[in-house]
Amino acid sequence: MARWVVLPVQGVRGIRWSRRLRAWVWAYGFMAPALVLFGLIVLYPSLEAFRLSLYQWSVFAPKRFVGLANYQRMVHDPLFWTSLRVTLIWTVGVVPCVMVLGLATAIALNQPWLLGRGIFRTIYFVPVMTSIVASAFAWRWLFEPTFGVVNWMLRQLEVSDPPGWLASTTWALPALMIAGIWKQIGYAMVLFLAGLQTIPRELREAAEIDGAGPWQAFRHVTLPLLNPTVVFVAVILVINAFRVFSIPYVMTSGGFTYLTPGGPLNSTRVFVLHIYDLAWKQFDFGYGAANAMVLLLMVMTVTLIQLRILQRPFEY
């Protein structure tokens, strides 16, 4: 029996209030650790980041309020536009490739007649689980123009003048993008597989009995039902593309004045590398923070578009 029946003197109302109060206290008690940490590492730094973007603050010099000057400077800064362009190329190149290859692999692995499904799934997932720095090293040497395996293969294919990859302003970014695609296919595949498994097989079989070919069945039955997964994977991949750092940093850095990360000639300067360079190489923290706000804007836009498409938050 509920306790308040045993204690009638307090009156129903008072007890309800004290119970509620107790619940509030408990609720905030449960929330407390998360809230404290949230304030310290999410809320405060977010607001502070915005505040910093209004200051000129360089190493050794005191902070100085400059209003929107950092944002004005950004508009006229060719490096800002370069890094924005590099990031957009990365996004437009990497995301569709990962989507298509990930989905194709998932559909192949979802075929009932396929043997060795587990082995293939493991193999395609290995890149996701291989240390990103270690695999970037391996890619760097695979792409080495003279002794690297990639150009050796191209020469076998009778390509007479294979690209200089990381030594070329044209080919460095594609080389990094290939590594970025390689790293994420398995991840997209797993999410698509999970999505495909929620689609009843009978639906597609019914469509095929009705005379639809496999492609039509895929187009008109599987794909629409898979739509939420597709949007979700696309959004995650786009956000990952906006925030990419490790692969470009590791693959383009290399000791003693060989190449500054993001090189050659800023051809691989992705946006986060741009922020990193401004803050920790040029010590222009305020300007770096202003650039970081653009990243926030980009991520927010994509998230809000996703919300509109899916009509509800976070279809996990």
Binding site: V59, E144, T146, F147, T169, G263, L265
Partner: protein
């Protein structure tokens, strides 16, 4: 809330401070001192520092040196952010290009008179190594890691392509000619052996500029950067000749980012004498010699002299012990170690003519290069390095027109110099 607590805290602090001396201190054991020491990593220099730390600590058991060998790539980022946030090391190493910047920022402590007076410093060290660390009659750093640029030659590869190790190239023309002969290409024309290793690009274009330009390359007094002059442009045209076209002697596409000489894939190599240490450790099977660096035809040999100095953070808790440690690092005893084990050139006058140092021909040539050296004039580190590196990439990778690119870079560098030196 926080503000209300402050006075309470302050009172407590004062009380604590009062208590501290009351604790009985044993008079015999001197207080333990920890000195945090940072420098950029070099394969050959790290073991020498480790050894010197052992020696210093054995002599002074009350001192512990905490040594961090930070990769060159991150060194300046870590150092400057740490200094700005007052979490920097007590002792660290800076290149001469940064001296003015850090002295002006008030980040460094001067050498105290009881460790070494300015007169003693001037008497002991060669002027080229210390002059840039002097401001207002005080010295802010003691030099080690003196480097010139010299020519390294892979003897076996040179003989293979018909060269004579006894007649090393003395001029750029000779170098170009021999390097071209020694560059190997595959059927498609891709380089598979470089005539000249240009991975260490700074060395190549700096030697070119300092050997071509007669006057100052950077004139700090006039706040001018002078390599857009005809001589400077000639130097960069030489770079273009070495690096581009069908007669190039190296290419960024060949062993991208690799040290080619150390791997036995290049015949010539312009680099610091300290490369000796790396070759002895990591390329034991390469048979190499050194020679004076190339200069334009008809000129006397010349090489840029570069130096790093150990300096002390102005926030160091124990500046006196920090300076003693620096004094030890730059002492005669230590410099002999630096020279023998790493290949660093000495900065002490007395060691320049010390015959005991010259135990082989390589040492002789390295040491002798100091007699025809001129100090590096560059002002500003990372920013300027980036400008010059970018210039190199524009010429070498993009095939940009040399004159325009050089003019742009020199103008940009001049802006940086003006900012650092506070010129009008």
């Amino acid at each position: 809330m926080r503000w209300k607590l402050l006075p309470v805290l302050a009172v407590m602090m004062v009380a604590l401070a009062q208590c501290a001396p009351a604790a009985p201190a044993t008079p015999t054991a001197p207080p333990q001192i920890t000195i945090v020491h940072w420098q950029h990593h070099h394969e050959a220099r790290k073991p020498v520092v480790d050894e010197l730390i052992q020696k210093f600590q054995a002599k002074h058991p009350n001192v512990t040196i905490k040594f961090e060998s930070i990769p060159y790539e991150q060194y300046f980022d870590k150092l400057l952010t740490a200094l700005a946030s007052k979490t920097g090391p007590d002792v660290f190493q800076i290149p001469m290009e940064m001296a003015e910047q850090l002295i002006r920022a008030g980040a460094l402590a001067p050498v105290p008179e009881n460790v070494m007076t300015p007169q003693q410093i001037e008497a002991a060290f060669i002027p080229a190594a210390v002059q840039r660390f002097k401001a207002d009659g005080k010295y802010y750093g003691l030099p080690t890691d003196v480097q010139t640029l010299i020519l390294f030659i892979n003897v076996d590869l040179l003989k293979e392509c018909g060269g004579d190790p006894n007649k090393p190239p003395a001029t750029w023309e000779e170098l170009k000619e021999q390097a071209r002969r020694c560059t190997k290409r595959d059927a498609q024309g891709n380089i598979v052996q470089a005539g000249l290793d240009t991975r260490y690009r700074w060395a190549v274009f700096t030697q070119a500029m300092y050997s071509f330009i007669d006057g100052p390359v950077v004139d700090a007094a006039a706040c001018k950067v002078n390599y857009a002059s005809p001589q400077g442009i000639a130097a960069w045209k030489l770079v273009a000749e070495l690096m581009t076209g069908p007669e190039a002697v190296d290419s960024p596409k060949f062993l991208t980012g690799q040290r080619k000489f150390e791997q036995g894939k290049a015949v010539f190599y312009i680099n610091h004498p300290v490369t000796r240490g790396r070759l002895e450790r990591e390329a034991k099977n390469i048979n190499w010699i050194v020679a004076p660096p190339p200069v334009p035809a008809g000129k006397k040999p010349v090489t840029p002299l570069h130096v790093w100095a150990y300096v002390v953070n102005k926030d160091a808790k124990n500046p006196e012990w920090a300076w003693r440690w620096v004094q030890f690092l730059t002492s005669k005893e230590a410099q002999i170690q630096w020279f023998r084990k790493a290949g660093d050139l000495p900065s002490l006058k007395e060691l320049l003519s010390d015959p005991s140092l010259v135990t082989d021909e390589k040492y002789r040539i390295a040491l002798e290069s100091m007699t025809y050296s001129r100090p590096v004039e560059q002002v500003g580190q990372t920013e300027v390095d980036n400008i010059q590196s970018e210039l190199w990439e524009k010429i070498v990778i993009q095939g940009a027109g040399v004159e325009t690119a050089v003019r742009e870079a020199a103008a940009k560098e001049e802006q940086v110099v003006k900012k650092i030196l506070g010129c009008p």
